[in-house]
């Protein structure tokens, strides 16, 4: 039985793809039932992945077919069914199923309904392929695949300029990271024995021991660069907030649970490789920490509910990278477990939060500015309490899932200085500093989560109206258009059951997952089945009560402060903002990161593009056109003269040629 799931694992990516293709090809027939084939495909993939979970092992790889074969360059399509792959696979398919069910209700009435679900099917295919692949090059292919699907889905409403621009930005920033990945693959290919890029070969102990010094630092750096783009870390996180232009289910699926975790997955998978360069691990940790802090600082002032959640995602991804970066020496196993655990739980509660935001947006007639509505807990009870559960999980309150995963990360950070000292590294104290910054960030996380919850659901009830001071200048026509697209739904009503049931399921998961997987050690045990896990350093860690308690305190303090400021409408936040006005304005404007990029990177690129364009037009094009005119001139002026249509001329030419040939044969 175990062998069956491993042999047929390639069915798992294909089922969602098939669902997507059916939805695309039968678009006119299915119309508003196009979600059904995709949902069935992904659900079937989920059930299969449960079987794969049961039969995972560190050596389970299968070769599905040949892909690239050119002499010594052999890249077959090989898939791997080990602990990490099956964990991610089950998580991805489960969350995708729930998101598809939610989206079938959310996107009802949209004229491009089938296209949406076709793209979702394509995306799930790419993501499952990414986590299942056993070869770096195949992973790269699927990496690009999820990038493309992200572009397609963010720019789903392509007629809106901001959405099209956001999609382009996401794709191009991801492209910058992909360059790093590509160079890393090329480099690996040159130094790896047999030029075999599969994980079993590259991450084997023998290979790693023989890597040259430059590669030990260079390749992890490049892989981290790629992960920076895909998982939205400094400095390439700028695409994620703008990606909220896409439909909310897209944000929930791609930018919370699945695609952005691909970078974390890659680093986790390559831990054995990265552990060779403790300096790079420190860099990862520092970048993760800075990102988490920066994103949390921006999130505390944002007024757009989805933007808050987006920055929250960036911040939580920073946590995961902090964990991975802390994997020096004996902490390696714990670090990987912590990062993956947090990835796992984050998928559930962040997806839940995004979907709940979507439900709110749906009910408020596509208004997402938190200042325009309030006190919705009576109107939207399901949404409100599921949001609360998700918020508690995000803040890290016992016994929610976030508590356990964040706790593990802090534990890893706490154990890192000792391990660094054991390896004779001088920078162990940085980990200690990062530990305290992480706690501060946890406090800020809880604060902005509570702020979002209380602004939306607490206080006096208020529905959006066109008289709000924050309402954009909009004509009645557009508002009516939005209403019509949502069918028979009226403003202020709770969403349909098809949308609330996934929320409830996810909320249930957010509650139990931490306990079920973390405390029982099930996750750690499962990850033992990951390739190369035993090779990572592990040292016994003393379990202290200090870290969990500190984490709880930070979380409760944050929520308490938020309740104080936002539980009842009060002038306190405005006064606080006025007091710290420069900081407030900077945070509201995202610390001007986009503007800095515009004036440094973009200007340079535009200037160079103009120069190259000039060179192209005046030199390259002229040369080529000049070369092209030569045969024409020869033909028209020199050779066409001899095509004068006179038969006798042609016959004379033939006779002359025969004479010359004869003479050559005679005298040679």
């Amino acid at each position: 039985m175990a062998g069956f799931f491993v042999q047929w694992i390639w069915v798992v990516p294909l089922l969602p793809l098939l669902g997507g293709i059916v939805a695309a090809l039968g678009a006119t027939r299915f119309r508003f039932n196009a979600a059904i084939p995709v949902a069935i495909g992904i659900a079937a993939a989920f059930l299969f992945s449960l079987g794969a979970w049961a039969s995972s092992g560190p050596e389970n790889t299968i070769v599905v077919s040949k892909w690239l074969a050119a002499g010594s360059f052999q890249v077959p399509i090989e898939l791997r069914v080990d602990g990490l792959s099956t964990l991610m696979l089950s998580m991805v398919t489960f969350v995708s199923t729930l998101v598809v069910i939610f989206a079938s209700g959310y996107m009802a009435g949209d004229p491009s309904y089938p296209r949406f679900f076709a793209f979702i099917g394509l995306f799930v295919f790419s993501m499952t392929g990414l986590v299942l692949s056993n070869n770096f090059l195949l992973t790269y292919a699927f990496w690009e695949g999820v990038g493309v699907c992200s572009y397609l889905l963010i720019g789903f409403w392509y007629a809106k300029n901001s959405a099209a621009d956001a999609a382009m930005k996401a794709f191009l920033v991801n492209r910058l990271g992909d360059i790093g990945f590509a160079i890393a693959i090329f480099w690996l290919w040159t130094i790896v024995p047999n030029h075999d890029l599969s994980y079993t070969n590259v991450l084997a102990e023998g290979t790693l021991a023989n890597l040259p010094d430059s590669a030990r630092v260079g390749i992890p750096l490049l892989l981290f660069w790629a992960a920076t783009a895909k998982s939205a870390q400094l400095p390439l996180y700028v695409w994620l907030p703008d990606a909220m232009e896409g439909p909310t289910p897209v944000s929930a699926l791609i930018h919370a649970a699945t695609m952005v975790t691909a970078g974390v997955y890659l680093i986790a998978r390559s831990t054995a490789l990265i552990a060779l360069a403790p300096g790079v691990q420190l860099l990862i940790c520092v970048v993760g920490c800075a990102t988490a802090l920066l994103a949390a600082a921006i999130a505390v002032t944002q007024n757009d509910l989805k933007r808050v959640m987006a920055y929250s995602t960036v911040s939580q991804l920073g946590y995961m990278f902090m964990a991975l970066g802390a994997g020096v020496g004996g902490v390696a196993q714990l670090a990987v477990v912590a990062a993956i655990f947090h990835l796992f739980t984050h998928a559930f509660f962040k997806a839940l939060l995004f979907l709940a935001s979507g439900s709110v947006m749906h009910s408020m007639g596509d208004v997402i500015d938190m200042r325009r509505f309030g006190g919705l807990r009576h109107r939207l009870p399901y949404t409100c309490w599921t949001f609360a559960v998700g918020g508690l999980a995000l803040a890290g309150i016992f016994p929610m899932a976030g508590f356990f995963s964040k706790d593990e990360i802090l534990l890893a950070l706490a154990a890192a200085p000792e391990a660094a000292h054991a390896m004779d590294l001088t920078w162990g104290w940085v980990y200690g500093l990062i530990y305290w910054v992480a706690l501060l960030t946890a406090f800020m996380t809880a604060f902005y989560t509570g702020r979002a919850f209380f602004m939306t659901f607490w206080g006096p009830e208020k529905l959006p109206s066109p008289d709000d001071p924050e309402a954009p200048e909009v004509d009645a026509h557009a508002a009516h258009g939005d209403d019509a697209s949502h069918g028979h739904h009226h403003i202020g009503e709770e969403s349909a059951p098809i949308m609330t049931w996934p929320l409830m399921i996810l909320a249930g998961c957010a509650v139990v997952v931490g306990f079920l997987f973390g405390s029982t050690g099930w996750l750690e045990h499962h990850l033992q089945g990951m390739y190369g896990f035993e090779g990572l350093g592990h040292a016994p860690h003393a379990f202290g009560w200090g870290t969990p308690i500190l984490g709880m305190v930070a979380g409760l303090a944050g929520i308490g402060l938020a309740y104080l400021l936002y539980g009842e409408p009060s002038p306190a936040p405005a006064r606080l903002a006025a007091t710290f006005r420069p900081l407030y304005v900077a945070s509201l404007n995202k610390f001007y990161v986009d503007e800095i990029y515009q004036w440094t990177v973009m200007k340079v690129l535009w200037v160079s593009a103009a120069v190259l364009r000039f060179l192209d037009i005046s030199f390259v094009e002229r040369t080529i056109v000049g070369i092209a005119t030569a045969p024409r001139a020869i033909g028209r002026n020199a050779l066409a003269v001899y095509q004068n249509g006179l038969i006798q001329f042609y016959a004379a030419a033939t006779a002359a040629s025969v004479a010359i040939l004869l003479l050559i044969l005679l005298f040679s």
Partner: protein, 156 residues
């Protein structure tokens, strides 16, 4: 008894055949009348037939002569069809000049010598007198309707 056609005679026959061939080719390349061109082509065939006959006799079998019979056949068929086609071409342009048929060419190619210039530069030729110079008899009686077209209004 030894064959009478020694290699010397063979050589002579082959040379005559070559000369006929060359002269035929010359006529084909230089004359402008379609009929004379075709006659020259037939002369080329005669030259090759002569060579074949001589070689057949030299080698001592009939193959060359049979080949010549077939050449004869082919020449006859070719002459029939070619003359039919010449008739059609004459119907189109009322002339047997091959210079008139030049449509399959590049537009950039200049005319070697335009036909009007040719006609202008050529020496005038004494025209053949037609029936208008024949002595006329006094018509007797009423001239009947002539059912046949006069020779001056021939089919063009």
């Amino acid at each position: 008894m030894t064959d009478l056609l020694t290699i010397d005679y063979l050589r002579d026959y082959l040379l005559v055949g070559a000369a006929l061939f060359a002269l035929g080719m010359l006529g084909f390349l230089s004359r402008r009348n379609l009929i004379v061109m075709f006659l020259s082509a037939e002369m080329m065939l005669q030259g090759t037939a002569l060579s074949l006959i001589a070689l057949s006799r030299y080698h001592g079998n009939w193959t060359g002569q049979i080949f010549t019979i077939i050449i004869l056949t082919v020449a006859a068929c070719e002459a029939a069809i070619a003359l039919a086609l010449i008739m059609i071409l004459y119907d189109r342009r009322a002339s047997l000049d091959i210079t008139l048929w030049r449509e399959l060419r590049e537009e950039a190619a200049p005319d070697l010598v335009p036909i009007e210039v040719e006609a202008a530069e050529a020496e005038p030729v004494e025209p053949i007198e037609g029936p208008e110079t024949y002595p006329q008899l006094t018509p007797a009686g009423v001239e009947p309707e002539h059912p046949i077209q006069p020779w001056t209004e021939r089919r063009r």
